[in-house]
């Protein structure tokens, strides 16, 4: 107690007094704090010398001894003062991960699809690069595993393809995008005809017994009354050139038949598609991804399960 009193007497107070005798010390700043502060001031001055800092007229001081060299898009080497944009270009060209993948990217760029698919090392690289590309660009619609959403986005992991499942077809689809279109038949058919067509379509995959309705539906489908065969073909197996679906298998991309519990729900699902038609767009990626990236994705999608 008496020691504390002594210390109090030794230091200055601010002279304030509250509630009679509560006073405030006026201690000097701790030395470590003061020196840290001076150090930040010195750091700022050093920074001004080596980095872009002070505005001067319409420009600014660019700093000394901080040149960054990178290869520009036209292949020429450029050197300029330190800035984050030049730093990014250098980083994309020279960083450890960039140089590591560079060698493989060059290999994939020059190889044809058969070579890539047959080379275990290139396939391992392709999978690890493409899984990121797929996640950033494709997974929003087709899902992380490529299984799609029934009614909206096709499943890429099965072996049923609307626009073709060869590497060439997949590459064309990614590069240019696709526009899938089936007209609405609401104005063309009456309600009973829509029922008949739905029954016939279900019978094609063995999900409806052959009855009078199916026979009527077949007449509409296979003649110019409905003209369904223009796009789906007389065998109803679809056409790659039209992106039309194969109706004879049990894989459905638009009509949610697999989730239908009863025969009525199955008919209603198919009828809804015939009634309203389909309009779906797959965006083109040629502006966003380069040719090598599209190649990696093509192989990845091809290998998701159903490549032909």
């Amino acid at each position: 107690m008496s020691d504390a009193r002594k210390t109090q007497a030794a230091v200055q107070t601010t002279g304030h007094a509250w509630d009679g005798d509560i006073q405030e010390f006026n201690n000097p700043l701790p030395n470590w704090w003061l020196w840290a502060f001076y150090a930040t001031v010195v750091f700022a001055v050093v920074y001004w010398i080596f980095y872009p800092a002070w505005p001067v007229g319409g420009g600014y001081t660019t700093g000394v001894m901080n040149d960054i060299t990178f290869v520009d898009s036209d292949g020429t080497e450029k050197t300029m003062h330190w800035n984050t944009r030049a730093l990014l270009l250098k980083d994309l060209q020279e960083s450890k991960s960039a140089t590591l993948s560079h060698e493989y990217l060059e290999k994939v760029k020059d190889a044809d699809y058969q070579t890539i698919l047959g080379d275990a090392e290139m396939m391992a690289f392709t999978r690890s690069m493409a899984v990121g590309l797929f996640g950033d660009n494709c997974a929003a619609c087709h899902g992380a595993g490529g299984t799609g959403v029934i009614g909206l986005f096709p499943n890429l992991a099965d072996d049923d393809w609307l626009w073709g499942g060869t590497v060439e077809d997949i590459q064309t689809t990614i590069t240019n995008g696709r526009y899938g279109f089936m007209p609405s038949f609401r104005e063309t058919f009456n309600d009973k005809q829509l029922d008949d067509v739905a029954a016939y379509v279900l019978s094609l995959s063995g999900q409806h017994k052959a009855d009078a309705s199916v026979a009527r539906g077949k007449a509409i489908f296979q003649t110019s009354t409905g003209g369904c065969y223009y796009c789906h073909g007389h065998d109803a197996k679809g056409m790659k050139s039209q992106g039309s679906a194969n109706l004879t298998d049990q894989i459905w991309t638009i009509a949610d038949v697999p989730d239908a519990d009863t025969q009525e729900q199955k008919l209603a699902a198919v009828k809804a598609v015939v009634t309203h038609g389909v309009q779906r767009t797959m965006p083109h990626w040629s502006d966003r991804l380069d040719k090598t990236q599209i190649k990696l994705l093509t192989v990845y999608v091809h290998e998701l399960g159903g490549g032909q």
Binding site: G15, H16, F70, M80, A140
Partner: protein, 245 residues
């Protein structure tokens, strides 16, 4: 000299002095950007929003999209790999206020335009988990139900014109836009034809899949689909943009 005590015991003086100190900090960082050449890059293609896109942008702000989504791709490798080319100052020169944002709960949207189909945007805004199961984004089902209110579109464009966005009202302003943006864009920036331009853009593109109606979904999707698509980066060398820094 002012003593500590006189500042600390005088709230009014303390407020004024605090504001002065903070203003200096802000001004020395911001003001030089107003007169340094090349703060806004010289680049072709950036235009003000069409009336429909503008209403979409209003809805983007009304729904608070900026609270979770930034529109600012920084010049870092990981961002370049995920989102694409870094954002240019020029690309938000007609944004008042800009939507750069500082928080990413969802992904950056600066280059979301044309990345997904209209149909995806409609399904996703209506119920994000219908297409992205792990999403934490709320549902916005009313966008499809609400008819778009565009009764005050001309006033909205006039207000932006006051901040320097080149929407046109007079013949001279229109001619200036034709020179700067070309005729087809200049037509869309004409305040006097705003309503018919808005209606025709919505009907021709039918963003929401409901051809007979113009909903808030039409406007928002039209805005999202134009984000980051105005500059054709294949026309420029990368070094060109670095020169401005």
């Amino acid at each position: 000299m002012i003593k500590h005590e006189s500042i600390e015991t005088n709230a009014g003086l303390l407020i004024v002095l605090t504001m002065i100190v903070i203003s200096i900090g802000g001004l020395v960082e911001i003001v030089p950007l107003f007169y340094i050449n090349g703060t806004v890059e010289d680049v072709a293609g950036v235009r003000p929003y069409t009336p429909l896109e503008l209403r979409g942008r209003d809805i983007y702000q009304r729904e608070g999209c900026y609270l979770c989504h930034s529109q600012m791709i920084r010049p870092f490798r990981d961002e370049a790999l995920r989102y694409g080319h870094y954002s240019l100052a020029a690309e938000s020169q007609y944004d008042h206020p800009f939507q750069w944002g500082s928080k990413r709960t969802g992904p950056d949207l600066a280059r979301v335009g044309k990345k997904y189909s209209n149909q995806w945007h409609v399904a996703h805004l209506n119920n994000p988990r219908s297409v992205v199961p792990q999403s934490v984004m709320p549902n916005y089902p009313w966008l499809l139900k609400n008819d778009l209110d565009y009764s005050d579109i001309q006033e909205r464009m006039r207000a932006l014109k006051k901040t320097g966005v080149p929407y046109s009202e007079t013949r001279d302003e229109y001619e200036r836009n034709v020179k700067q943006f070309g005729k087809s864009v200049a037509d869309k920036l004409d305040i006097l034809h705003a309503e018919e331009n808005l209606i025709s853009q919505a009907l021709v593109n039918d963003y929401d899949g409901q051809p007979s109606r113009i909903t808030e979904m039409d406007a928002l999707v039209s805005y999202l689909q134009v984000l980051g698509t105005m500059v054709d980066f294949s026309k420029y060398n990368e070094g060109y943009f670095a020169k401005f820094r």
